[in-house]
Symmetry: C2
Subunit: 249 residues, 2 copies
Amino acid sequence: AGPPSFSTATGTKIGKTLAVMSGKGGVGKSAVATLIAAELHRRGSKVGVLDADITGPSIPRGLGITGRITVGPDGVIPAESSGGLKVMSMNLVLPSEDDAVIWRGPLVSGAVKQFYEECAWGELDYLVIDLPPGTSDVPLTIMQSIPLDGIILVTSPQQLAGVIVAKARKMAASLNAPVLGLVENMSFVTCPSCGEKVTPFAESHGEEIAVAMDIPFLGRLPLDPEISRLADAGKLEEYRSEAVAEVLD
Amino acid sequence: AGPPSFSTATGTKIGKTLAVMSGKGGVGKSAVATLIAAELHRRGSKVGVLDADITGPSIPRGLGITGRITVGPDGVIPAESSGGLKVMSMNLVLPSEDDAVIWRGPLVSGAVKQFYEECAWGELDYLVIDLPPGTSDVPLTIMQSIPLDGIILVTSPQQLAGVIVAKARKMAASLNAPVLGLVENMSFVTCPSCGEKVTPFAESHGEEIAVAMDIPFLGRLPLDPEISRLADAGKLEEYRSEAVAEVLD
Ligand SMILES: Nc1ncnc2c1ncn2[C@@H]1O[C@H](COP(=O)(O)OP(=O)(O)O)[C@@H](O)[C@H]1O
Ligand SMILES: Nc1ncnc2c1ncn2[C@@H]1O[C@H](COP(=O)(O)OP(=O)(O)O)[C@@H](O)[C@H]1O
Ligand SMILES: [Zn+2]
């Protein structure tokens, strides 16, 4: 999908490109992007992850990827996670964050377009793009710079989901790409002692809002210490749960 | 405390200035700064809050403060929360975040110094400074720009508390201001059904690390939906809990 003017590297063929968006930082968008990519891969698809979230190296960290980028005859070769996900991260090529330099939209989107077109991704069924947080021009220009097949929204119960869905919809319309659905992350905590579903942030409204605004509600992910533990250990792709499976169903 | 070269507005006398620091964003540093300020006020002190956290308007939002800044004969008059906290926020004078402009350390610290010296704070027992997140040059130059009496660190169980304490210590030494202690926020969730203390992010290590590194452990704050609810409603200063009281004891 997308205008035919996009080229890709020799030997590269990208199936569907999905962008993962959030209303603001800290809702676990990068974690959800990683879990979705890992689950698609587990079900037999070839999956790449393009980390365009310049606010922090959540993607390379969660997948245990360190700074090696190699260049081959067909272009820059993406790093590979131990599970087999192909990963290219803006965070591996940016100057250190202590420089307090912010990359504006056009610079980031130019680099993302370059990663899309010049990386030797090989054959991919899915390319998952982890966008910078928020619904400003920065993620918008990034989505405009590549052919996009769908957008997944990530919120937490504390967010005004309605506002984010409304904004994402406008952006999606201008991009000719559908909003594939809403995932409500950190939705609840399961008490290991009595099994109660506790809502530590706020009441969950993601589903009723998605339904009211006519977009698919993909599911709730719990606040699970296993997610943070695996992410910190660079093994987030190993996380498996009913909840993640349901997001893809 | 602090070099005698700092002036304050006519009629203004500031007692102790406390800066609240975190290792990274999203650990609830602004919320903790607000809760500490509110508790000090509840115990009878006159308290001001200087919001230097340019990453977002958590302070004005949590205290229900909107954009009105008035100027009087003695300088800019701080806004006042309904509970009586005096508040000056960088977020009320910054351009909108969609401008994707980042204020570098020297610009922010210059503005903070100006707020400190030119606001008609009146008589304050405590001025609580909400710093930008992290331990980079940005919060450091801000702390260098005003007379500082102490630093409070906020972490969440997911953070490497040791790394943050070590870094804060170096900064504190160069500033001649003590690290007053560590608060571990979002430390646990209390199951409303069975009372179990669930740890949704990770195991709590804040206390053992603080003890090992010889700084006071001020306490653990739970992940409490009431905090987010009150913060969203602009009434965070109304939150009361044993845990917050213990932080001040
Ligand atoms: N459902 C969850 N349960 C526990 N920890 C989570 C969950 N989702 C994300 N995290 C953790 O929260 C932190 C922030 O997540 P991240 O994906 O970086 O957020 P964002 O991309 O929205 O800024 C990370 O340390 C991540 O491992
Ligand atoms: N202990 C807590 N329980 C529930 N929500 C919290 C807690 N601490 C902070 N929050 C909420 O988490 C979000 C982030 O907190 P904030 O203080 O803005 O973090 P920071 O200043 O570290 O970026 C806010 O919506 C705040 O209301
Ligand atoms: Zn329970």
